[in-house]
Amino acid sequence: MSVSHHLADETLQDYAAGSLSSPMETLVACHLTVCQHCRDRASIADHIGGSLFEEFEAVDVSLSASDLLAQANVMPAHSAPSASPAANPVSGVPRPLARLLNDPLEELDWKRIAPGIKQYNLSDQHRRFGAFKLLHLAPGVVLSAHSHNDRELTYVVKGSYQDEVGRFKAGDIADLDGDVAHQPVVDTDEPCIALIATHSPVRYTGMFGKIMQPFIGI
């Protein structure tokens, strides 16, 4: 997969610091799956955390090492709610996204929200916490021009689109700052499927967009 749009340094740093929401982490992990370049940069961000960790002032802990080991036999091993292999792996989709899907992309329960635009919501939270969804855009669809309050990540799952920033193809990530206004256009005869996460609702800059916002909800 040839990738030409990458994650911003500050996003990789936020990811390493553990400050991103799980939708944002999903987008980052999808791109990292298909992009060795960003995986290398992400690993440097981890090493920075490790190096700064050494400068820390230690505080007192109540147990000694030998007390802890004595308890080790009676304390259950912590196991993170482990991600089981996707029951029905969706091929052509990075695993961090595939785990959230029960059906192949085209068979998802898409909701039509505007001519040529369908969405599949992945968030169980209120819209004011930000969006997390797949968008299915028909060829030729032009989204309303919009910007965001904080951060928007878009991962192209299939197809491509073009906007003021450039052309985005499968595997690319658009890592936009809040002040960038853009108007994506699906630029081939193939539909474009994109995964989107925002930290806060977008602001539409045109009148049509203001009316559309409650429906599209990105």
């Binding site: 500050e10 553990g18 002032e57 802990v61 912590h78 990075p94 700052d177």
Partner: protein
């Protein structure tokens, strides 16, 4: 050059390198032999730092203490998965503590790349000239030197982000700065570290003595 950045005597760099090697060796010994002496050494260096990290991120002491014990037990139980060629002991500990905190707060694990993913891209061409973290001992020193040479304002935002549980937006509010300034300081810091890993000559030289 920002003169407010303290210069680091060579002795301190050597001591840090020596400590790093010892901790890496300890983890290997724990993984291989369940070496309790090695674990005691790791514990005495890291347990208080792990707890301090969790409390800095806003956890109350009681919970921080409990999670610290779990994290140190994870170190004991999973040390065989530590690969000294890939990361310094501190990086390994930091990622375990970070992930356990996320897991505790959210109830689901940090979402990461899965290395057996069929979509995983492994670059086969060598024309990617960007910096990589390869040789642990050498690169750890380069990286540490680069961090020490950062302007104070960049070190500050990096510390707040990694160790004070703050989003970039919250850091901006806290420091009374535009968020763009915070992000650009983080960007500059990340770039400086990458450059240091690329440029051996420059990075291995001691921080300049003004």
């Amino acid at each position: 050059m920002n003169t407010s950045v303290p210069t680091q005597p060579k002795k301190r760099t050597d001591a840090a390198a020596e400590l790093r090697k010892r901790m890496g060796d300890n983890l290997v010994a724990i993984g291989r032999d369940r070496d309790e002496v090695a674990f005691a050494d790791v514990y005495s260096y890291y347990a208080g730092r792990v707890k301090s990290f969790l409390m800095g991120k806003g956890m109350v002491e009681e919970i921080a203490e409990e999670l610290t014990q779990e994290i140190m037990l994870t170190v004991w139980r999973r040390a065989e998965s530590y690969d000294p060629a890939k990361a310094a002991a501190s990086t390994w500990l930091f990622t375990i503590a970070r992930n356990r905190r996320i897991d505790y707060l959210r109830g689901n694990s940090r979402i990461e790349v899965e290395l057996d993913d069929e979509m995983l891209d492994i670059e086969t061409t060598e024309n990617d000239s960007q910096a990589k973290f390869v040789d642990d001992a050498q690169d750890s020193i380069r990286l540490k030197n680069a961090l020490e040479k950062l302007p104070q304002e960049q070190r500050q935002v990096m510390h707040l982000s990694y160790f004070r549980g703050q989003s970039h937006g919250a850091i901006a509010k806290w420091l009374d700065l535009p968020i763009g300034t915070v992000k650009s300081r983080i960007r500059l810091a990340m770039q400086a570290v990458r450059v240091s890993l690329q440029n051996e000559e420059e990075a291995l030289s001691e921080p300049s003595n003004d």
